[in-house]
Amino acid sequence: MGLVESGKMPKSLTKLLNMSRRYSMWVYQWGLACCAIEMGAAFASPRYDVMRLGVIPLPASPRQADFLVVSGTVTDKMAPAVRRLWEQMPDPKYVISMGSCANCGGPYWDSYSVTKGVDQIVPVDVYVPGCPPRPEALLEGIVLLQERIMNEDMAERWKGDPIVVE
């Protein structure tokens, strides 16, 4: 799609493409700590039902995923693996950082073994704060990501600032 990268896509076509991308996203869940349970509740429990947002959880491999949810504490030992997994995902790819730990280190801000924020390793699109964020907060983060995708100019990708869920 050389057209996309050069930014010469007709507006209506962009919109159509974006809309279809927005409602068919595979999410790769990188559950690391306590937040993973809330993520599991959001993805696997019938009460929160993430599929109604057009998000399909549990892909077989990161190579099929459109966006990644990093939930939980990233340690220095884990960091290379997170990076590596992110590199395996096909473009365009997005990252949601879930929980204070992944955002900035959280309760372990002064620990000797915790990475202070996953954004040091991979670019993050949406930060969901909380310790742990409720499943609803994660869903809101996903909705915000979808909005971002909807309004996205593909050529401009990565130039915008991260969104913070209030």
């Binding site: 429990s45 030992k77 884990m78 620990s111």
Partner: protein, 391 residues
Amino acid sequence: MSITTENEQLAYIASQAADARVNVEVETDEGMTLNLGPQHPATHGTLRIIAKLDGEKVVAAEPIMGYMHRGYEKLTEVRTYPQVTTLINRIDWLGSFANEVPFILAAEQLMEVEAPPRAQWIRTILFELSRIANVCLFLGDMAVQVGATTPVFYAFRDREFVLNQIERVTGGRFHPNFDRIGGLKDDLPKGWIEETRGALDRMKSFCDEMEELVLGNEIFQARTRNIGVIPGDVALSYGLSGANLRASGVDWDIRRDANVGLVYDQVDWKVWTHPDGDSFARFWVRLQETREACNIIEQLLGSIPSGPIMAKVPRIIKVPEGEAYVATENPLGEMGYYVVSKGDLTPFRVKIRSASFSNMSITPWILKDVFVPDIISILASLYFILGDIDR
């Protein structure tokens, strides 16, 4: 480096893998090496297992931990006592309230204060509720690991009822930070007792459902019976505790035999053991314990004494000099804190004895000579939580 023996190879792989930079797939004449994790659905968390295979048989297996090491023991040295509870909540994240209790009890022992009876009652109730919230997920997850997908959805569904009850008291779904030195932060909200009864009924029917769905299932039995057998004396020498120990026929439960500060002596309940020591026994014991927890809570709900929920403690908590070790029977097993105090605002040293760490230390022994698919079911039945291993 020249690799000649099996052990050398395993050590080499492990040293490489420890840095998480290489993906290990080594094939030699004798067999192949299989790498599970660190992110693998079956390790529910970030555990990595490197297994050396001979055909379908595991010759040696080596768990690599530390992907979730957050340095609790160091951080507690720079947190005040009330701040520590916020932190240690997050060790075993499925049954958080249970993590706070032994630490608070240890601090109370040193300060020589005792929580008023009402606080002790509520503590015990919340303790058992977090056991249900924790083990409930195990019951669902274990079924997933042997190939049945549905039960975990049931587990997530019914767990919400218990979490709601915990949330109504503590304000947090699973990091309550509710326990205080000398009592509790708050009293029970109005109408809570009745609602909890409803949630317990729900849990009981969940247990029945699991019994029908999973326990009697032929495939489940084939995958778990006589798999991963741990004899009682081995379990003891490795420091296994909790349901893993009782499933090996050792009749020992801290709640009954070394109870500190909680009111288990006020209720009529039973310790479940199973003589077999296999994966099936571990599942069975946990299922019975969930039922028993419902039973304990129900009895306690009917007899909560009235009175204050907080003993008199100074506003700024300085714990007198001394050392104390208090352990409780957490959902995962024995969890204890060895607190050394020098009379400061912060503990001098806290040693955290977490259940999963000891429970998992048996893996190199137990994963010998099993088949590859059994790795998963054995690990699932040992039931660990990564935060509890790595701390």
